[in-house]
Structure formats: structure tokens, C-alpha cells
Symmetry: C2
Subunit: 288 residues, 2 copies
């Protein structure tokens, strides 16, 4: 954290527990926080910190609150379940001033949208930093994260799934892939990781992909061009649970570039499920 | 066709109409055919040609029939809905001799299975040739195949979807991809092209991927390492119909390496649906 500890960290919080971890990590490092929770998305737990809930579009109010609390540095973090519906925005004066910019953003692709949001906050005078810069523990480190390491027979699937996740990241299509016994069985695009895992479950149920015992690996990587400040890939409990239920042998994530949400719980669940979870170095050459 | 026209062409026929097209093309070129239809898979229409229906595993009988009709050159063609269940094979003496080889094949991956089948037929003394060598018209040629060409705005999606289909082919994961307004929304792996298209339909219905009017492109390519003799990718009426129902603007296939089944009907359907279907050269550099 480059900013003085005296200046509070602003957190614009979507859903899930990650914003709470970020607030906790900042507090732990002796930094005050001020959280703006997005109404209908942010966890009520943010109430443990100085906060306010705002609706989409209350940008003027957000600016006033941040000014009041002396916030110049921001983290934008948490799930947004619904892509904002511009027609239902409660637009305040601050928002109306930037309407043309927002309209332009909403018609763009996901990556453009996110980098546009950062730019927009920059134009409003804020510096956007990554949640991982405040809470580095959120990010997977290299190596085995739980009790188990991948067995020799499964290492091929780690390589295959990582190779696939990187290949689809390079073309800006997705972040996750599943390989089972040397075969790539699913590639993620717009459906997201959890829907991809449901598909693998269906394929196995239908006998289209067969294995016995635990086999196969889910891999997740950041896209090379991904802005990790606002869009770091995450693995959470739901993902680990789904992988366990499908019967996968383990999970591989790109070290330093994928967040593990609720990490203690997630790692415990992999241990209990006799699965592994491993951080793979970004620069490692993967060959199947 | 290198073989003398005097020697009949053997066709081992799975399901669908492609085996009939191959038989027709051979007959049209003045070559006799003898078809072995796989029981429960092959179209009854093969009865228009000298033929016999056999069950999986009747390899001795197949050899006897091919010997009787003087067949040395074979096409293996048509859908196999169910991957053969070895436990239900009706094994004749010819099959029992090759049981160890067949067992080895059935435990291998798809690509290995197919190249193993070719090798096996080779060991039995047959030369396996591709359906496209007998019926070159089955294969998409380069250029616009129907009445419509992709609009300037859609050409980006042709490039994006082709780029994606090639990228996943390179890693031996799948053959097809869908791009809409510059974004890759679906990548095919074990689920197959039609299931991938159903997913795009669901994503659109759920508002996860939005567009109005016709937009977006389905692309299909052969994997670089794919053995086109037994495993050429196909686009059929079902695929065109699904693409039309989803609201895609068109279909791009790799010229010379993708079969269009029921082509006249398929192209007519794209025309009627105000869609395009286009063959893209294999060696063309695609940049989004």
C-alpha cells in the first residue's frame, strides 16, 4: 500500500465475503476503511465498518461520502449478480454528468467495461487499486495448498487443464477448463465456471465422459490481458463443492493471479473430499 | 480414387445420410459399392445398394463378405450414437482373434480410438480412405455457400469464432465456437456442437448474452491433428436449425476440412433464415 496509512481506503463492495476480507486486511494493517455497499449486492456484514449502502447510479452521493471521509484510493470488489440495468438506475447529479461515458461503457464488452470503469473512477479523481494489493493472502500462492499433492497420474490432467485454461484466456474467451484422464472435457466461456462444472456433471451422468474414483482437474487462470485490479479470477467454496461432487481429483489455479475466497474453508473442504488444490506458477511451460 | 474402378468400394455405414451420399457419389463415378450397415445405426436407405447389416463384433463375417465382393478399399462413415459396449458384442471368430487389440482401443481416447481403428483395418488388409476422397462435394469449399455473404459488422465474429475454434482444436479440445459482437460466448469440448448451441440459447434466454436481430457466428474447424479419413467434422441440418433458432447471423466452416451433410437442404435453410454460411480457408490468418 503506497498511500499513507492515515488516508482511509475506500471500498466499493459488491456481493460475497471478499469485500469483508479486504476490509479486515486493511484494518489489520492499521488502515481505516470506508465502504460503499451496492444495495442488493453487498453483504450486510460490511456494517461492521464505517459504511453506507447506495444504489447503482448514486455517483454524486458516493463522491460526497468519499470526500467527507477523505478517500482517494479505492478497491472495487465483490460479485455483481446482475449487470446494471441502466434504465432502472437512480441517477443523481453526479451520475448524470457522466451519463454519456456510462452509456458508452455499458455497450462494450466485459473487459472493456471493467477497464472503462477504472478509467472513469480515475477521471473522478480516484486511484483504483487491486484487492490483492490490500489483502495479498486472498491470492493463491505457488505449491500445494491443502494436505494432498496431485498424484503422478493426475499431474497430466493438471498440465492439460492449465494448458487449456491458458489457451482460452489468450483468446479472451474464458478462464477455466476441466481435463479428465488426459482429455479436455469442458472449456468455460460466457457461462462461467460453475455452469461449466454443472455441464461436466451432466456429461458424466449421461455416460459421455467416464471415470471411476476421483479423477480429473479443474484449472483456473487469469487471462493474460486481464486487469487484476477489478477482475481477478476467483475460486470459492461453491466451486470446490461442485468439483468435489463431480468427483474431480483436484483443482489447479494460477499462482499469484487467482483469488481463493473463504480460503481456510475451501482448503479444508478439499482436504475432507480427498482432493488437492495447487497453485501453479504463471510462467511454467505446460505440456500435456 | 486411386483404386481401379473395377474393384468395389466397401462402406462401413453408421447412422445418418452421409453413407448414402458416399455410395451415390461412388456409383456416380462408375464404381460399385458394397455396404455393411451397423445394425441399429445405419439408415435403411443403404438397402438401395448391395449391402448387409451386421452387429458390432461380427468382424469375421465382415471379412468374409468383403472378400466375397472383392473389397480392398473402405470408407468408414456415419454417426455412431453409442460408443460400442464391448460386453454386448456378438463376437464371431474374426473378432475374437483381435479381442486384445479391440480392448486396448476401447480404453483409449477418441482420437487414439479412431486412429487405432484405421490401423486395425489396415492390419486386416484393408485400405481406409476418407469419405471426402470419394465424395468431394460433401466438403465445404471456400467462399460464400448460400445467397448471403457476412455483413461487414459480422466479419469480426467470423474471425473471432474461427480463431477460437482453431485455438481449441490446437489443444485437441473441440472444433466449434460461437462469437457474438466480438465476444466469444461458447467453446465446444466433450458436449458436442449441438449441446454447445443449446447453451448459447440458454445464455441468451437468461440475459447473460444479449443481442438483437441476427448477430453472432458459429464456427467449426477440424483439429490440426484430426484424421479426416474417419473423423471429419460435420455441420448438418440440426446444427443449421439450432443456429437459426438462436438468432445467429451465420455459420463459418473451415474450407476443405468440414463436411456439410444434406448440403442442398442446409444451404436452403440458411438462405430462408436470412443467415450466411461461408467456407474459410484453413491457412488464413484470423485476427479479431
Amino acid at each position: 500500500m503506497a498511500a499513507a496509512k492515515g488516508e482511509p481506503l475506500g471500498i466499493v463492495a459488491g456481493g460475497g465475503t471478499v469485500p469483508l476480507y479486504v476490509a479486515e486486511a486493511a484494518a489489520h494493517a492499521g488502515r481505516r476503511v470506508f465502504i460503499i455497499g451496492i444495495d442488493g449486492e453487498a453483504d450486510p456484514g460490511i456494517a461492521a465498518y464505517p459504511h453506507e449502502f447506495l444504489k447503482w447510479g448514486q455517483i454524486g452521493r458516493m463522491q460526497a461520502l468519499f470526500a467527507e471521509h477523505g478517500v482517494g484510493e479505492l478497491v472495487l470488489i465483490g460479485n455483481i449478480r446482475v449487470r446494471p440495468d441502466f434504465s432502472r438506475f437512480k441517477l443523481d447529479l453526479g451520475a448524470i454528468r457522466i451519463v454519456p461515458k456510462v452509456l458508452g461503457l455499458l455497450s462494450s464488452g466485459d473487459n472493456d467495461l471493467l477497464s472503462g470503469v477504472i478509467k472513469l473512477f480515475g477521471q473522478l479523481g480516484y486511484k483504483v487499486i487491486g484487492a490483492h494489493e490490500v489483502a495479498p493472502d486472498l491470492v493463491a500462492r505457488e505449491g500445494v495448498l491443502g494436505r494432498r499433492a496431485p498424484a503422478a497420474t493426475t499431474r497430466r490432467d493438471v498440465s492439460r487443464a492449465m494448458q487449456a485454461a491458458r489457451a482460452i484466456g489468450l483468446i479472451d474467451a474464458g478462464q477455466a477448463a476441466v481435463a479428465v484422464n488426459g482429455r479436455i472435457v469442458a472449456l468455460e466461456a460466457a457461462e462461467g465456471t460453475d455452469a461449466m462444472l454443472e455441464r461436466v456433471a451432466s456429461l458424466r451422468k449421461a455416460g459421455r465422459v467416464k471415470w471411476s474414483g476421483r479423477a480429473g482437474v479443474l484449472a483456473k487462470c487469469a487471462k493474460p490481458q486481464q486487469d487484476l485490479r477489478v477482475d481477478m479470477p476467483t475460486i470459492g467454496l461453491a466451486t470446490v463443492k461442485a468439483a468435489a461432487e463431480i468427483g474431480l481429483a483436484g483443482i489447479a489455479v494460477e499462482a499469484g493471479r487467482v483469488m481463493i475466497v473463504d480460503r481456510a474453508e475451501a482448503v479444508k473442504l478439499t482436504d475432507r473430499s480427498e482432493m488437492f488444490i495447487v497453485g501453479q506458477a504463471s510462467d511454467r511451460e505446460e505440456r500435456g
